[in-house]
């Protein structure tokens, strides 16, 4: 089914080195519009590095990455064009602590998309309603709980009206009782048809909304498939072992 749809991300034989350490060893991936991809694997497997190459927070040294038809090269214009179309949510939220929630969300639309302030604030308010915290608009990030901060971060990324959303372990820094409120927002987003790449170990989330899952280990894609295939009948030993470790309790 996915093959019929238009591909929005093309990753072709991507390599990345940190000094002599070979972090990504030939990654290939096609993502279709509206697909939800879950990437999982042990720490140090390169999954975060990979997702960060999609918006060039990390530079790849070999291979090619095309996002919405734009190739990521050293050309700053291309990089900025890709970043405008790509929202990102970080493990540590990375909200701007000196700005209010509203200013966090409207900064990029006003400065990059050149919206007027009123339009940006109206859109921001709609997004805050969507993530369930409109009453926090005038607070500073430090006054919010972790779960609320992460939802603001999602709203901030969505405010640029991106075509793709990248999530880099969005719930890993959260207390257990706050994970659900963030996942609920992400599930709603997935169902609205957003193209999403999610690095996470939340297997409930994967089961609920992922179209495909990729298992990373030692800088390579070891196995990929639908959640059904991965959970019921993993082919590789490493996948089986890893799943048994994270699902055992």
């Amino acid at each position: 089914m996915n093959d019929l749809k238009q591909s929005i991300i093309t990753v072709n034989d991507v390599h990345k080195w940190y000094g002599n350490f070979h972090a990504l060893k030939g990654i290939n991936m096609e993502v279709a519009k509206g697909e939800v991809i879950v990437i999982f694997g042990p720490s140090g497997s390169g999954k975060s590095t990979f997702i960060r190459t999609i918006n060039r927070l990390e530079e790849h040294q070999r291979g090619e990455i095309l996002v919405d038809g734009i190739e990521l090269t050293h050309d700053v214009r291309n990089i900025e064009a890709v970043r405008i179309e790509t929202g990102m949510v970080f493990q540590q939220f990375n909200l701007f602590p000196h700005l209010t929630v509203m200013q966090n969300i409207t900064l990029a639309p006003i400065q990059v998309r050149k919206w007027d302030k009123q339009k940006a604030e109206e859109t921001a308010m709609q997004l805050l309603v969507r993530v369930g915290i409109p009453e926090q608009a005038n607070k500073f990030p430090g006054q919010l709980s972790g779960g609320q901060q992460q939802r603001v971060a999602i709203a901030r990324a969505l405010a640029m009206q991106p075509k793709i959303m990248l999530f880099d372990e969005p719930t890993s820094a959260l207390d257990p009782e706050m994970i659900k409120e963030v996942l609920d927002v992400m599930v709603e987003l997935a169902k609205s048809g957003m193209t999403m790449l999610v690095v996470t170990h939340e297997m409930g989330f994967a089961r609920a909304v992922a179209n495909r899952m990729f298992f990373f280990d030692q800088g390579q894609i070891v196995e990929s498939g639908s959640p059904e295939e991965i959970f019921k009948a993993p082919k590789e030993e490493r996948t089986k072992l890893f799943l048994s470790q994270i699902l055992s309790h």
């Binding site: 918006n55 900025e80 990102m88 970080f90 900064l107 400065q111 990059v112 901030r156 990324a157 990248l166």
Partner: protein, 400 residues
């Protein structure tokens, strides 16, 4: 087990002065001995100092030369415009206090009533009128700010921005010096005392700020030429004493500029101070930049903000806020460093002190003169430090 509604602190924590004394000063016989000994020392030191201040010291030297200390040789008939400039500053101060620091009535009253208080001292009537004028302008500024804080904010900021050029222009004057008159040009060789110290400090601080900022950013630049230039400049200037830079500005600069072109000596000192201060400021700013987590850059980049916009809207506001205490420390140290221009022959506060001491009738009064000059430096330094603390509180540093 029922807890009482309020739990009082232990007995020792909530008792009177006597108990506090016994607890802290006379806890054991050794504590008591130390306390008595300490009080004796303080008494001896204070007695000597107070005796000197009130009976031995000849403060006439300060009183007789007060005008020299304040404005140097600035001609008497043009002094009025300095008062006007000061009035403008006090107007802005009153205005700002009312707009941004509404609750601190005491600070406002202290600042604004200070000239009025001085007016009760035995000055000549002309000076007294000007002092009353100062309090009046300050009070008017405060009243205006109090009645309409929101509408005036932008005007006040604009006022502060144009205040430096206004003060410099008022000090310099406009018309032909030969003709005389209230707005005639006064050469910088006649600028002196606190006026010159103040102008040197303000000019050096204001101009070194953007320069230091660019150097700090340059040092982090990905372009090698800019980075090397910044590193080279910073390390070169930081490796040289300020006094040598001032000497170079006074003695060597004329060798480099085309013949016949004369650069004003005060201007040379200002440039020297600015260039020196910028190198230190750059390192302070760099420290602030390094304290910002990498995630802030990444989040800004991920949103599509360009490098410059990331700096302007995300990184610098946080970095500069972090280093406000260091920046104020630097401003204060520039203020005190201006005293070095006395050595290259300018008559700043310290330079004036030296000329006063060389007058035959005041020979040997070093203690009085230097004590007075130190007191002036201390009062003004402490004022800057106090303002910075208020600024930190109102910006909420350390609370989020």
């Amino acid at each position: 087990m029922n807890q009482p509604d309020t739990i009082l602190p232990p007995l020792t924590e909530r008792s009177g002065i006597l108990r506090w004394l016994r607890h802290n000063l006379f806890g054991t016989w050794l504590d008591g001995l130390l306390t008595v000994f300490g009080l004796l020392l303080i008494y001896l030191a204070a007695k000597g100092l107070l005796t000197w201040i009130f009976t031995i010291a000849e403060w006439d030297v300060v009183v007789a030369n007060l005008r020299l200390f304040m404005i140097g040789q600035f001609p008497l008939e043009q002094v009025g415009r300095l008062w006007v400039g000061l009035g403008f500053l006090l107007f802005l101060t009153g205005n700002s206090l009312a707009i941004w620091d509404k609750r601190s009535y005491i600070a406002a009253i202290l600042v604004l009533a200070f000239p009025l208080f001085l007016a009760f001292l035995p000055f000549d009537s002309n000076t007294r009128q000007w002092l009353i004028f100062l309090t009046a302008t300050g009070a008017i500024g405060w009243g205006l700010g109090f009645s309409n804080p929101q509408a005036l904010k932008k005007t006040v900021v604009a006022g502060w921005i144009i205040s430096l050029p206004i003060i410099v222009l008022l000090t310099r004057g406009f018309t032909d010096p030969e003709a005389g008159g209230a707005i005639a040009i006064v050469g910088t060789n006649l600028w002196g005392g606190l006026l010159l110290t103040f102008l040197l400090t303000v000019v050096a601080n204001i101009f070194s700020f953007p320069l230091g900022l660019f150097l700090a950013l340059g040092r982090r630049s990905e372009l090698p030429i800019i980075r090397w230039f910044s590193v080279g400049y910073i390390e070169l200037v930081r490796g040289v004493p300020l006094i040598t830079i001032l000497f170079m500005a006074q003695l060597m600069l004329p060798l480099f500029v085309p013949g016949g072109m004369d650069i004003d000596r005060v201007l040379r000192a200002m440039v020297g101070m600015t260039l020196f201060s910028a190198a230190y400021l750059a390192e302070n700013v760099r420290g602030g930049l390094q304290a910002i987590p990498k995630g802030q850059f990444e989040a800004a980049h991920a949103l599509g903000l360009s490098g410059a916009k990331t700096m302007i809207f995300v990184i610098l506001p946080q970095a500069l806020r972090l280093i406000i205490p260091i920046l104020v420390g630097q401003f204060i140290s520039v203020f005190k460093d201006t005293a070095l221009v006395a050595i290259v022959g300018l008559f700043d506060l310290l330079g004036i002190a030296r000329t006063v001491l060389s007058q035959p009738e005041f020979i040997g009064l070093h203690r009085e003169v230097y004590a007075f000059v130190s007191l002036l430096y201390w009062v003004l330094s402490y004022a800057m430090s106090y303002i910075s603390q208020r600024l930190e509180t109102s910006l909420g540093i350390g609370t989020r």
